[in-house]
């Protein structure tokens, strides 16, 4: 695979893609997110780190409304996600509207979640053809181009169970990209992979960084240092600290951040 790591993207301050305001989330009596505020600008790569159970994955899943927030607002491209305002009251959107919003947000899952009854190329074509109503031949050409981009042109007609974990995750990234999203969410994309396959997935993600707005929940420090503009540290449902990667890893300000880093770096 031919991958060159781009320099970190220039940020355009006027272009806010994601804006979260005072986001709270409860699972029953469990208060998982406690007033999260976050802004992500166009082409920015934000890596969210934090201990397990800190709420970082939950927050990511709230951005495309796979989880419902209890209070607060999340805007993507200026549109409130999952809800609309009716006389000051937040009302959940119709399923069709939520689906339309999700089509603009790509998501990559920890466990890949490829469709096992479809080949690699069919996995990638499915949503463009069924959701965007793209012509099949155009969708197929686009899918093959994306497969080549993630280095899997020769795996076009393989079923997911014929691919390695790393290959499946690269197909999953291509599948999300096929919808031409304005934002990509990565939920621990390498934590279900065998160590020797992590690199190939991170390489694809590094190549995307700079041309795509990305929010990545991951502890991969190498990726964060190479591709992230900002690291956000979440603990117990709150953002504790955020900083550029070099500063975050070399000079953390908060005691909890230092404790966390010492645990993952030992």
């Amino acid at each position: 695979m031919n991958i060159n790591v781009p320099s970190k993207a220039k940020l355009d301050d006027s272009n806010i893609i994601v804006k979260a305001e005072q986001v709270n989330k409860h699972f029953g009596s469990l208060h998982v997110l406690k007033g999260i505020d976050l802004e992500v600008r166009k082409n920015e790569v934000v890596v969210i780190v934090g201990p397990s159970g800190s709420g970082k994955s939950t927050f990511l899943r709230c951005i495309n409304h796979l989880e419902k927030i209890t209070s607060g607002h999340i805007y993507v491209n200026g549109h409130m996600i999952g809800y609309h305002d009716r006389n000051g009251q937040l009302v959940e959107d119709s399923e069709r509207n939520i689906a339309r919003q999700r089509a603009e947000i790509g998501m990559v899952f920890q466990r890949f979640n490829l469709f096992p009854h479809l080949t690699a190329v069919e996995n990638i074509m499915e949503a463009p053809v069924r959701v965007r109503k793209t012509r099949t031949d155009l969708a197929r050409a686009d899918a093959e181009r994306l497969l080549a981009r993630v280095g899997l042109a020769d795996k076009r007609d393989q079923y997911p169970n014929q691919l390695s974990g790393g290959q499946q995750q690269r197909v999953a990234i291509a599948r999300a990209l096929a919808m031409k999203p304005t934002l990509m969410l990565f939920d621990e994309p390498t934590s279900a992979l065998d160590p020797e396959m992590i690199g190939e997935v991170l390489d694809v993600m590094k190549e995307l960084a700079g041309e795509m707005t990305m929010i990545v929940v991951s502890h991969e420090m190498g990726f964060a240092k190479a591709a992230a503009n900002r690291i956000v540290f979440v603990d117990e449902g709150r953002i504790i600290e955020q900083a550029a990667p070099d500063e975050f890893y070399s000079n953390p300000k908060q005691e909890r951040t230092r404790t966390f880093l010492s645990q993952i770096l030992h």
């Binding site: 495309n64 796979l66 399923e95 689906a99 790509g106 469709f115 949503a127 965007r132």
Partner: protein
């Protein structure tokens, strides 16, 4: 010592001679067609009931629960009698004979098929639901994250995968269905068992005739078992799922845990 009437027996198990009696020939055709129609109807009803049971809308869940509860909790024979005699006497619907060319579909056949289908739907609902619930929830999440509505995701992503789980028990249900059509005898629907019963009323050879009748059912279920094994091994080869039990095991082992007699 009972004198077994071999000529009568052979006359009624050997199709060329047995089919000279229209009661047997038409009865066999009716049994096969009624089984297929009732099973198809049952699968469709079962799919809707399963989706209803998993619906966000409470009213749909209640309707599905009520349907499944009633039709699994009461005897099929009673349901059939209720539908045919009960509805008939109210004049809500009398099940008039339908004539299509030379074929007459009697009211009893219609009512019996309907009852078998509705009853089957209640059992299929659980099979379909179990099939859908066997699919990793991550599949629905992935489909939704790509902008699919849950209806589209169900149709394109979940049901095609669930089908592989549903088809083996569905095959067993159909096997059962072909035997269960014999209950229609009580409403005088002209299926296979009714045919043999009519012949018996004429010549009174119940031992010979009912052995012959049983062998026809055995033939039908055995043919189906062979077809079912072909279908399942075809599914397995294409999508890499586990192979089902072998032919001998299917024919001679007891029924698996699911279903049970209706």
């Amino acid at each position: 010592m009972y004198h077994f009437d071999w000529p009568i027996f052979f006359n009624y198990i050997w199709p060329p001679t047995a089919f000279q009696d229209p009661l047997i020939r038409n009865g066999l055709i009716a049994t096969v067609i009624v089984s297929i129609v009732a099973q198809v109807f049952g699968v469709i009803l079962g799919l809707f009931a399963a989706l209803g049971k998993m619906s966000k809308l409470a009213i749909l869940r209640w309707i599905s629960d009520l349907y499944i509860w009633y039709f699994r909790g009461t005897p099929l024979l009673v349901q059939m009698a209720l539908l045919f005699f009960g509805l008939g006497v109210t004049h809500i619907y009398n099940f008039p004979d339908i004539v299509i060319g030379a074929v007459i579909i009697t009211g009893a056949i219609q009512a019996g098929t309907l009852a078998l289908g509705i009853n089957e739907g209640a059992y299929m609902a659980e099979i379909v639901r179990a099939g859908i619930e066997s699919i990793d929830p991550g599949q629905m999440e992935a489909a939704k994250s790509l902008g699919m509505t849950s209806g589209l995701a169900m149709q394109r992503i979940i049901l095609p995968q669930a089908a592989k789980v549903i088809i083996p028990p569905l095959g067993n249900e159909f096997n059962n269905m072909m035997k269960t059509t014999s209950l229609m005898e009580v409403i005088s629907a002209g299926e296979l068992f009714f045919g043999f019963n009519q012949v018996n009323a004429r010549i009174f050879k119940p031992f010979e005739l009912f052995i012959a009748a049983s062998l026809y059912y055995l033939f039908l279920t055995t043919v189906w078992t062979v077809i079912q094994a072909r279908i399942e091994s075809g599914l397995g080869e294409r999508k890499g799922i586990e192979r089902g039990p072998g032919m001998m095991q299917r024919l001679f082992s007891g029924r698996g845990g699911e279903g049970g007699g209706h």
